[in-house]
């Protein structure tokens, strides 16, 4: 089909003018992504720190004090209560004043020096299962480190079997490293949907669509004129978010910037073709808004943004295969943290490219049909 480059360019210019002039759409372009990134960057944080802890030291030796200091020094635990009786720990847990209770028995130092097995008691508030698991894990880590250190000092010959796990890519298990790249995907999708869902239906409502249809402009030209400006905004936002993610949140970008840009570009095309489809199907702007909402929420949930796809029931895992955000999140997470490139990510790229082409094609076809 012959496409008039001149007409498309004029349409793009008009769209940009309107985007930049509209006081409602202007903040969506660049302010919304920034605010959201900062909000998500801080709020979507599953790290557990400063766990309020009650410590009961029956032993009262330098060894037991060292252990408690090790807990405090880790940064994960704040010892806020020093009860005298075990029942006090229980009461504090019940009232939610503390999350964790530590009880060191009498003879702790003696048994430790003698090389005998020794145990301390941890009481964890399990009502918040996620935090409890994490807190338990940290406590185990503190105790293990303490044991190794003590036995090293004592020059003990045998240390038994010790698990020495090391996490790659994100050694400190900071959830921000994992979440901030994912926020890029969620934001790009949101912006693309917001800017395109209304673009055709708005013209239908104000009557300009009829004028465009009477004019020699073709459906392809019109759709191109609508997508190119949003694409530019999307690419600019991608750059903006990436800069903030790497500087403000110090998320490492280990992969290639070019691969990120290419993946982002394909993903933006997917997002705006979904938005255009919504816009050509909807009769009114309200309808478009509701449809957009119904599309964005599942896209977010079945993308692995909040919950790992692997832990979903298999039917939802299947649904997630149709979700472009799933593939883009896989790309950005691997790219930022692992430094993965096209060699590892080509399947995701292939799917996104196919989705982008199909989506734009469908939007044009659907638009042509809506003319009749």
């Amino acid at each position: 089909m012959a496409v008039s480059v001149v007409r498309v360019r004029h349409l793009v210019r008009k769209e940009l003018k309107q985007l930049l002039r509209d006081p409602r759409s202007r903040p969506i372009l660049f302010v919304l992504p920034l605010v959201q990134l900062v909000l998500f960057g801080y709020a979507v944080n599953t790290d557990v720190r400063h766990i309020r802890t009650a410590a009961l030291d029956h032993d009262g030796t330098s060894a037991s004090r060292e252990l408690l200091e090790a807990f405090a020094a880790s940064g994960y635990f704040d010892i806020v209560e020093r009860p005298q009786r075990p029942s006090d720990i229980v009461r504090s847990l019940d009232r939610g004043r503390v999350m964790l209770g530590i009880e060191i028995p009498v003879g702790f130092a003696r048994d430790l020096d003698a090389g005998r097995g020794v145990s301390i008691q941890l009481l964890v508030d399990g009502s918040d299962s996620n935090t409890a698991t994490v807190a338990g894990g940290y406590a185990l880590g503190v105790v293990t480190a303490f044991t190794i250190q003590r036995s090293g000092e004592a020059g003990a010959a045998s240390r038994g079997l010790v698990l020495d796990a090391r996490a790659w890519f994100n050694p400190s298990f900071e959830s921000r490293m994992y979440n901030v790249p994912a926020v890029i995907g969620a934001l790009l999708m949101l912006i693309c949907l917001l800017l395109t869902s209304f673009s055709v239906v708005r013209e239908r409502e104000i009557g300009t669509l009829d004028q465009l249809r009477v004019s020699p402009i073709t459906s392809t030209e019109l759709i191109l004129g609508k997508t190119i400006p949003v694409m530019w905004v999307g690419v600019l936002d991608l750059a903006l978010i990436t800069v903030i993610a790497t500087t403000w949140f110090s998320v490492p970008l280990r992969g290639s910037l070019v691969v990120l840009a290419a993946g982002g570009f394909l993903f933006i095309l997917c997002g705006l073709s979904i938005g255009l489809l919504i816009s050509t199907v909807s009769r009114t702007q309200q309808e478009a808004f509701l449809t957009m909402y119904m599309v964005f929420l599942p896209a977010l949930i079945f993308s692995g943004f909040f919950f790992p796809i692997e832990s979903m029931p298999s039917i939802f895992q299947w649904i997630s295969y149709a979700n472009p955000m799933r593939y883009f999140l896989e790309i950005v997470r691997a790219l930022f943290l692992k430094g993965a490139g096209l060699a590892e990510l080509y399947p995701q790229f292939a799917v996104l490219a196919a989705m982008a082409v199909t989506g734009i094609g469908l939007a044009i076809r659907r638009f042509e049909r809506s003319v009749a």
Binding site: S4, V6, R7, H10, L11, K14, K17, Q18, R21, D22, E203, I206, G207, T208, L209, D210, Q211, L212, R213, V214, S215, P216, I217, T218, V371, A372
Partner: protein, 319 residues
């Protein structure tokens, strides 16, 4: 190839069970100002939308400059302009930007654009508002801007759907000035309206009712084609007179208009004198009686009446 600018052939459009336009046929000559008149729901808008190519006909066809709007809409588009009842303006763009955008859509050459803009601004008197957002214009000015946008590519055929609907009298006059100027320059204009006095400005009018053509001729000849005459009468008891006249021979219709009565009479020399006698027998005094020029409204009412009763001599005679 036909010499007519627009040739409508059996154009039909159905919406489910409802037939909005049925077997419409007429021809519009190049440079003609052609009116489509009818009440709401007559099918005027549907007809114009089909001519403009924004709605596909269910049957029949229309040729614009010899090209079919059904099979070659792309060939038709550059030569027409369509202005819907509420012309779609980008309210967040200025007056100048709106016109420029439509000029660009139709790829109006830059060399001729300044001259056209000057002329359009002169007619529409929108020049002082060039930098104002279209959304801040009054209804009448918006409509004038719409017309400027529609005319910037100098179409051969201009389709106007009730362009003066809800427009103040001064803007309405301006709009008609622009239309007459376009016609003088050789543009073919098809305009729909529900205002009969506007229809009388046209070279020819098509009267539509319930999707069908009920009359088609010069406005003057349509009047003449009525056969009878219209008399404006003042009587002592107008309300009772109107009721009484409904059953009197020679009276086709009688209607109250202000404090006088318009009586449309059938053929015959003595029609009026016999009706007058009948009124006076009822004790209704005829204070004043004068022949009146039948309006298109009279014609329309009459034609619809004939269509309903199945006899339609005018139609076969004028089509």
């Amino acid at each position: 190839m036909t010499s007519a600018a627009v040739s409508v052939r059996g154009l039909t459009r159905r919406f489910g069970e409802v037939v909005a336009v049925e077997g419409l046929s007429f021809e519009v000559k190049t440079g003609e100002l052609f009116g489509i008149v009818g009440p709401d729901g007559a099918g005027k808008t549907t007809t114009l939308r089909m001519l403009a190519g924004v709605m596909r006909p269910s049957g029949g066809d229309a040729l614009i400059r010899g090209r079919s709007v059904v099979s070659e809409p792309e060939a038709v588009k550059p030569h027409i302009a369509y202005m819907s009842q509420r012309f779609g303006l980008y309210e967040d763009l200025t007056v100048g930007e709106n016109i420029a955008f439509y000029a660009e859509l139709y790829e109006v050459p830059r060399s001729v654009l300044p001259g056209r803009l000057e002329r359009l601004y002169e007619f529409s008197q929108l020049a002082p508002f060039e930098g104002r957002l279209a959304g801040d214009l009054s209804g009448g000015m918006k409509q004038k801007l719409g017309l400027c946008c529609a005319l910037v590519h100098e179409p051969d055929v201009l389709l106007l759907d009730e362009p003066t609907f809800g427009v103040d009298p001064i803007s309405r006059r301006d709009l008609w000035l622009i239309v007459h100027d376009m016609v003088a320059r050789g543009t073919t204009v098809i305009v729909s309206t529900a205002y009969m006095e506007e229809a009388e400005r046209c070279d020819r009018v098509a009267l539509m009712n319930r999707g069908r053509l009920v009359g088609l001729d010069h406005p003057r000849r349509l009047h003449e084609g009525l056969g009878g005459e219209v008399i404006s009468v003042r009587v002592s008891e107008p309300r009772r007179a109107v009721e009484w006249l409904a059953g009197v021979p020679h009276v086709r219709s009688a209607a109250l208009l202000g404090d006088s009565m318009r009586i449309m009479l059938g053929d015959g020399e003595e029609a009026w004198s016999s009706v007058r006698t009948s009124l006076e027998e009822q004790g209704i005094a005829v204070l004043e009686a004068a022949p009146a020029r039948p309006s298109l409204e009279d014609v329309f009412v009459e034609l619809v009446e004939r269509e309903r009763s199945g006899k339609n001599p005018e139609r076969s005679g004028n089509d």
